[in-house]
C-alpha cells in the first residue's frame, strides 16, 4: 500500500512523508528514538493508522 516513504533525519524535520499506491500523498508526525533518530517501526505504525482511517468510507 505504501509506495514511497521518506523518514526524517532528525526531529527538526518532524514528518515522515510519502505516497500510497493510489497516489495519495501523506505527511505523518514521526516517532523518534531517545537519540533523536527516527523510530521507523513506530512511525510505520502511525502510517498504518493513516491507511486504516482513509479506508473508512463515509
Amino acid at each position: 500500500m505504501v509506495l514511497t516513504i521518506h523518514y526524517p533525519a532528525n526531529e527538526a524535520e518532524w514528518y515522515a512523508k510519502g505516497t500510497l499506491e493510489d497516489g495519495t500523498y501523506f505527511e505523518v508526525p514521526a516517532v523518534f528514538n531517545p537519540d533523536g533518530t527516527c523510530d521507523t517501526a513506530a512511525t510505520d505504525t502511525a502510517v498504518q493508522q493513516l491507511i486504516l482511517a482513509l479506508n473508512v468510507k463515509s
Binding site: 500523498y25 505527511e27 505523518v28 502511525a46 493508522q49 482511517a53 473508512v56
Partner: protein, 133 residues
C-alpha cells in the same frame, strides 16, 4: 489595498482561519463496522457555513469515527498545503495541526487525529463550534 488583500487582512492574514458550526449527526455501518458523530456529506449532520474559512472549499467531513482506529477527521474538497493554520478547536478541545496525519489524493485534503475521545458528543442535533486559528 485590493479586495483580496482586504479579505485576507480581515481574517487575520490567513485564508484558513475562521469558524463553522457542526450540527451533530450519526450513522453506524454494521458491515465495516464503524460509527461516526459529526458531519459528513455522505451520511449526515450539517455544517454552516458549508465552506472552510475564506478558501471557498466545501467541507466533506468534520467528525469523530469509532472504527478499527478511533480518529477525529477534518476533510475539505480540494488540495491544500499542510500549513497556514495551527489549531482546530472543536467545542473547546484543541487539535494541533502538526500532530495530525495529513494526506491529499488530489480531490480532497485530510487531517486526522488519533487517540482522542469524541469531541462532538453523542447527542444528535447538538451543535459544536469548530474554530481554525
Amino acid at each position: 489595498m485590493t479586495g483580496i488583500m482586504c479579505a485576507l487582512a480581515g481574517s487575520g492574514g490567513s485564508p484558513y482561519t475562521g469558524s463553522a458550526t457542526v450540527t451533530v449527526g450519526s450513522y453506524t455501518d454494521p458491515s465495516v463496522p464503524y460509527t461516526y458523530w459529526g458531519f459528513t456529506t455522505a451520511l449526515g449532520g450539517s455544517v454552516a457555513p458549508a465552506t472552510w474559512a475564506s478558501t471557498g472549499a466545501n467541507f466533506t467531513q468534520l467528525a469523530w469515527f469509532d472504527a478499527s482506529v478511533d480518529f477525529v477527521s477534518f476533510v475539505v474538497a480540494g488540495v491544500f498545503p499542510n500549513e497556514g493554520w495551527e489549531t482546530m478547536t472543536v467545542g473547546g478541545v484543541p487539535f494541533t495541526r502538526t500532530s495530525a496525519n495529513y494526506s491529499t489524493n488530489g480531490t480532497n485534503t485530510v487531517w486526522n487525529w488519533f487517540s482522542f475521545s469524541n469531541p462532538y458528543g453523542t447527542t444528535i442535533g447538538a451543535t459544536r463550534e469548530v474554530v481554525w486559528s
